[in-house]
Symmetry: C2
Subunit: 188 residues, 2 copies
């Protein structure tokens, strides 16, 4: 991994754990093993780094969604795989990076906001497709639009991750996630 990627990886972890306003260039420098000033050669300003983080994180999301799309699985399994992404974050004691940034959005460089919004839209779009797919396969019984259910899923997983990480109650997250999926796949 070259230095630029190493910086990005460390910075992403710091945002997910401490928030954008909760870490400094000194923290990155320490973990990457170079001096603060050298960071500015790769990312001149902190908000430039923030924008790069959003681009990188969105690409990671696309990779994950494509990986799930490629599974030889039905829609219900895809939903479980999607929820497992959040479960993995919880295990690593990290928030979704964009969920974290969303909480701080009023303090962010406005240039970061478009990709932040786009990230959530991408999640809702993908979930809406999977829900529609499950509907056409007669796997799901959904009162209300697929898009509204998609937003419930995204919101509930973000909120459950937020709360479970702070309370340390991982079992509560599991209960929430499995009941969420159960309530979509139907009771029978």
């Amino acid at each position: 991994m070259d230095t630029k990627e190493h910086i990005l990886s460390v910075a992403q972890k710091l945002v997910q754990q401490r928030g954008y306003n909760g870490f400094s260039y000194a923290d990155i420098a320490e973990q990457v093993g170079i001096r603060k000033a050298s960071l500015h050669h790769h990312y001149a300003t902190k908000s430039e780094l923030g924008i790069a983080l959003l681009v990188s994180y969105s690409a990671q999301l696309d990779d994950e969604l494509q990986r799930i799309n490629a599974l030889p699985a039905k829609a219900d399994v895809k939903l479980a795989a999607y929820a497992a992404i959040f479960r993995g974050s919880l295990k690593a004691e990290r928030m979704c990076m964009v969920g974290m940034l969303a909480s701080e959005w009023l303090t962010l460089d406005p240039a970061m906001l478009p990709s932040l919004k786009r990230f959530f839209e991408r999640n809702v779009e993908w979930l809406t497709e999977v829900l529609a797919e499950g509907k056409s396969q007669n796997l799901f019984s959904l009162p209300g639009s697929a898009a509204d259910h998609a937003r419930i899923l995204l919101s509930a997983l973000q909120g459950a991750l937020l709360i479970a990480r702070a309370t340390g109650d991982h079992a509560a997250f599991d209960g929430t996630a499995s009941l969420l999926i159960k309530s979509i796949t139907g009771k029978g």
Copy 2:
């Protein structure tokens, strides 16, 4: 309102809007109309202020839940009144203060954490009671435990507020909240 309460009120708004690491004593001083140094007479340190904020915010929650309990209404109406609290925050462009603090919990004074956890527990307990009440009134048809449904409700409302505030999509919040309640009160 005396100065101490005024400080608390301004600080609470700042945490809800910008996060605990996103505002300073200078911001409070400017809005309260006194000097930075005077703030330390009322709250010696920032984490002392943070703890006072959690005590005050928890008391506000108790007031709201008691107000809803006192309504001459059935469980479904109480759930809608609970969701309306979050809707009010969104309208004021504020996060739930404790949801905000939860995202930053790794950077907080550990003394703040017990009341933070207690806040979420209080929400889940109350929601669990209302859901059980609705069940006994034959208003709700719930697969899974009332506590798990309570956690879905809390998580989804926290997440929907987080996302809708950042994206500016208030209609998405409304769709999420109403479908959440609809899916509990049943389709008939």
